[in-house]
Symmetry: D2
Subunit: 380 residues, 4 copies
């Protein structure tokens, strides 16, 4: 773990919050999303609770009343403020939360030069944890802004025009492949143990499905044809009245970090649920890849848009790898307890911090979730 | 309508928002409550829409996109931002809303010297409307703060110690009484037409029920004895797990504008639902007065705490008076359309603006509502 | 109380259940409705629990496990099977419930010749209670049948053609009137105490609003115009997608005891909620009468369709009369605890047992309830 | 497909319904369960719609109004009566549904001697489909009876005492194994295509977890320790107040086909959700097997209670096998569209028809489902 990683990570989080007013930073638009201010505080609480309290002698907790506010879901770390009510915390203020960050940063600076390996490993985990929240900060503020009829823009300017390569199928011969994280670099526990998987031969798209292609699916009546959908998906389409991706506006524009912009047919389609991804694939005479196919395919020549545009729904449910055991203590709650009812996404997105993702990385969300930078790549 | 009323009302609203940070002013803790910022904007929208647009030639709407954000419930005035999502409006900012207020104030200042009587009447209505929102601003921010485990105080200091007079029964002989608003001063449409009501003789308490008396009811098992409760009330007690008034804390303190404070047994009990008020009265061998009894009783010698402590639930459902007709246009939506499913409260509270209430004043809330400054006075 | 009333009442309940199969008798189509079999058993439980157990020495309870199944809502009489699950009681069978009825009937026959006055009064109450359930048995089975796409008919044949007199306004001069039940005959506790009410002069329709008139309201867009509706009513119209009365079918027919039949424009409109009744009245430039106006108007020359067609929503919320006190014990739960959140209906319907209703009779249902034989009479 | 299979299957369904009264046969205790009468009709509708209408010239549909009542979930076969309202169909009667069965049986008898292979394949599918509903008929009536405080017994007598072999671990060396259905016999589409899977070495229990072992888990506080549970599981435990398996009674007895019986510590624990199975395994220091491990383990010496006691939750989400494609037409809706949000169960239960299950058989239910004969076998 490099000290530079910690410094850069902590600084980047603050920079991401820079365009937000105090009011923006408090927005919580649904129980699944959190306020930006909460992300800023929670990531600090993580270092305070898992690193500083056990490893820095004499560390003074910034405010004894705060841990219950900023513990996300760790049952082993005490009671928690109810998740759907994070947006009701006008106090502490954004300024106070920033002071909290400085307090934690200073203590980490004290600790690091003398930190034992176990502590350094936890600091590294804390950095990768904070990077995850960096992306969530963006997806969550975007969702909140999408609920405001004024459709505020997080960022000025316009997105760069997309440049979609021609769609073609890449061939994979199948066979036994190595799956999961191995080697010296950082990996989350859910990426291991590294193990072998036997694949049948398959084909996979060289790039993501584009907005133009998805618009064709809509125009062909994709949202009105039940036979294209998984049963749960069709029920959701009807119950929620889905007619297009989450941020596609009735006027034809697409909402994003730059506010509402004209739809770019070459840009990858995003803010899709797993259900929509499956229905599109069915309509296109294809399917989604499994997470193992996806990981194996990253080594293929011509595999584009791997991790820089949108996370890619896979046909794999989020399950433990053979031999997976959760760690003892709070860290064991990090990933394992979510391994049911979710689908794996692979890759990375335009909102993923640089250097955060890797081919073995396993992102996961429930199949109806739509507010992430989530798209799809076809297989067959 | 005096120009001074307008000036004072507009200034007082701003003063009430003064202790609030930008983040506080955006809090919405439940669909029934609104952010302080929204109250500031909505009361300005009311003047803009009902007074300035029809009556001030050349008036420029401050922002064409805002009326849909700040229309509360007027179907005749176009589409509205969904009520439960008022807390998601980080934009416009509090500063922008204050600029909106100045814009409207300036236009009203232009209009008033030359305003026709119809316009002046609407300005007067707008002032009384804004006074209602002043109380709601306080009840709503108090509810929001009560959802924060830190229990922030709106106001520094401590409340003045209460001074409860001895409880005694005042006698009213019954007979035909005049009910409703009459005469030259302002009254809302729901206070009329003035009419006669025939009352049986009754007795009414000289003051409100105190916290000490209510604590006895709790200690006697009041929240566990179904026979004391209306059927809907008992169902609510069980479904919501009610055990004490909304702001009474498990540690024995009572939350209020000054934060959590020691319970004052002489202070009137507040933040009660109609259901709780009825159950207490049943336990005390008494009942709630009707709104007509209450209004008639205000003339009795010794009738204390009429309008300065807490609104008083009555046994009367909120219904139209004989001959009541709603006005044409948007103003007609002000009161009449809510005349079902609610109970009348009479009096006024410590949060009611000075001069706002009067004996004929009819406040109303659903029977399960608890977040108002609402208590009770017994009758029999 | 005449022995003949008991005999006739008990026999009539059985006769009403005669057209029903065992399967029909078990249907529960919503929490507010009960299976016919349950009505048969509950009315017997009422006699067993309130009359036979306290007053017939040596009475043997038919089955010790049944009281909890057939207690409706009496908190003072022990735990109860959850109301929404009454339709899950395939056991006891209809045949067993009929045996229960015979057991109770035999015991009542033993008791009556020697019954003290208090017991005879409870038997009389039990008869009127059972008559109420006779109407509910019909409204509930009708609702259940309406949920079956086959739309089964409870009764063969066709309803008699209606004969609507010309609509005209009857005048009432107002003044002090006597309201409530007085004299020797039976009356429920909620009809008293008899007392005086001061009325303003008013006009009231000589008959009920007809299906033809209501069809005009629909054709004029009544279900699409928010300004005609109470706020809660309009919210319900939108949430439930109401477009016509509950049993009016999309094909223009009207479902009823005889199955789906052609709409008869002269027949009174029924299966209306209070909200719909109010919206119609608003559209017609009129209003609903209060329950006091209604009661006073029954004495007017030309007041037709008083109690033989449909219950008539009034503008009065269901509240206690001056001096009303609930009785001690379980009987006290009969009416008083429902006195909030409901509107009073007056009159009687084609499903009301002969002799059951009277001018002082107060029926009551929540404002959104639609499955009763409930219509309206205009006032102004 | 043998004619005998058809005859025996159809007869067995009727025999299973024999202990049920008309009232029992109509019970629907939750949206996920269906009335026995509906199962009787739906299985006939399946033959009528998929076999007789396309393949028997001149076939007369029994009642043109019924297909919409008894179509379960086939979007391609027209509109359907809402699933949660199946219990409201008192008409057609049980007798009429039995006549429907005879009508369909007679037509199938006419068809079979001359049926083309495609038709015979559909008849075979219909038989296996009906066998699935035989088990559901039992699980559904059992759930309905469990909601009746009288706890009726489906069957007289007592269950045979269980005989649990000593628990021991069976070893599997891992490697490439063949998974899925292959060969001549019948298999559902979701069991194929047959393919190879690479397994790590593992151990698996020789028998199911017993009631005695599960009681130890409860006594050890298993339902109160969040760290044993998946996150969704713990949320469900809290929201539903789970404290023991679905049919374990507070008095220590266990409800089942023979009514409430004393808990047999040697009998396999059943009516467990996936969440409970996982929590138990975690507590026991083990895990659930994957469906592939389970299938491979059936070949091990000493693998007991494979398919005769309880279905066995696996750690595998229900996903398509490599190369799986749904068939064209309605048959394609049979399995594929449910391949998300569910967990695979393997084996078979005491309620599974003889000859129905096989090692490649994939049963599936959502992770919170508890009303099946579902237990668990440990792995590690």
């Amino acid at each position: 773990m490099s000290t530079e990683l910690l410094r850069a990570t902590r600084a980047r989080t603050l920079a991401l919050a820079e365009p937000l007013s105090d009011e923006d930073a408090q927005l919580q638009s649904m129980p699944d999303a959190s306020p930006a201010k909460w992300h800023l505080a929670h990531t600090s609480w993580f270092f305070e609770t898992l690193v500083l309290q056990p490893h820095l002698p004499g560390y003074r907790v910034f405010d004894e009343r705060w841990p219950r506010l900023f513990n996300s879901y760790y049952e082993s770390l005490g009671p928690r403020h109810a998740r759907p009510q994070r947006g009701l915390l006008s106090r502490p203020s954004l300024a106070e939360v920033k002071a909290y960050r400085r307090h934690v940063d200073a203590a980490l600076a004290d600790l690091l030069p003398f930190a034992p390996a176990a502590a350094r490993a936890l600091v590294e985990l804390g950095c990768h944890h904070e990077q995850q929240h960096q992306e969530l900060l963006l997806t969550d503020i975007l969702h909140a802004f999408s609920c405001n009829p004024l459709l505020p823009a997080y960022q000025a300017g316009r997105p760069a025009a997309a440049n979609a390569p021609a769609q073609r199928w890449l061939q994979h011969a199948g066979g036994i492949v190595d799956i999961g994280h191995a080697g010296a670099g950082f990996g989350f526990d859910n990426e291991g143990p590294s193990h072998r998987v036997l694949l049948e031969a398959f084909e996979i798209g060289n790039r993501l499905v584009s907005c133009g292609e998805y618009a064709d699916f809509i125009a062909a009546g994709g949202y009105r044809e039940p036979l294209l959908w998984l049963s749960d998906g069709w029920a959701t389409v009807q119950a929620q009245g889905w007619q297009r991706p989450l941020y596609w506006q009735p006027d034809g524009s697409v909402f994003g970090l730059h506010g509402a912009q004209a739809l770019d047919p070459d840009a990858p389609v995003m803010q899709l649920s797993f259900y929509e991804a499956c229905a599109f694939a069915e309509w296109a005479g294809a399917r989604l890849p499994t997470e193992f196919e996806w990981e194996a395919a990253t080594a293929l020549q011509g595999f584009e848009q791997a991790a820089d545009q949108a996370w890619q729904w896979t046909r794999s449910a989020y399950s433990p790898y053979p031999g997976f055991r959760t760690a003892a203590g709070a860290v064991g709650e990090y990933n394992g307890k979510f391994m049911v009812g979710q689908q794996v996404l692979r890759g990375g997105s335009l909102a993923t911090p640089p250097g955060h993702a890797r081919p073995s990385y396993r992102n996961f969300f429930p199949p109806a979730a739509r507010w992430q930078f989530s798209g799809l790549r076809l297989a067959r």
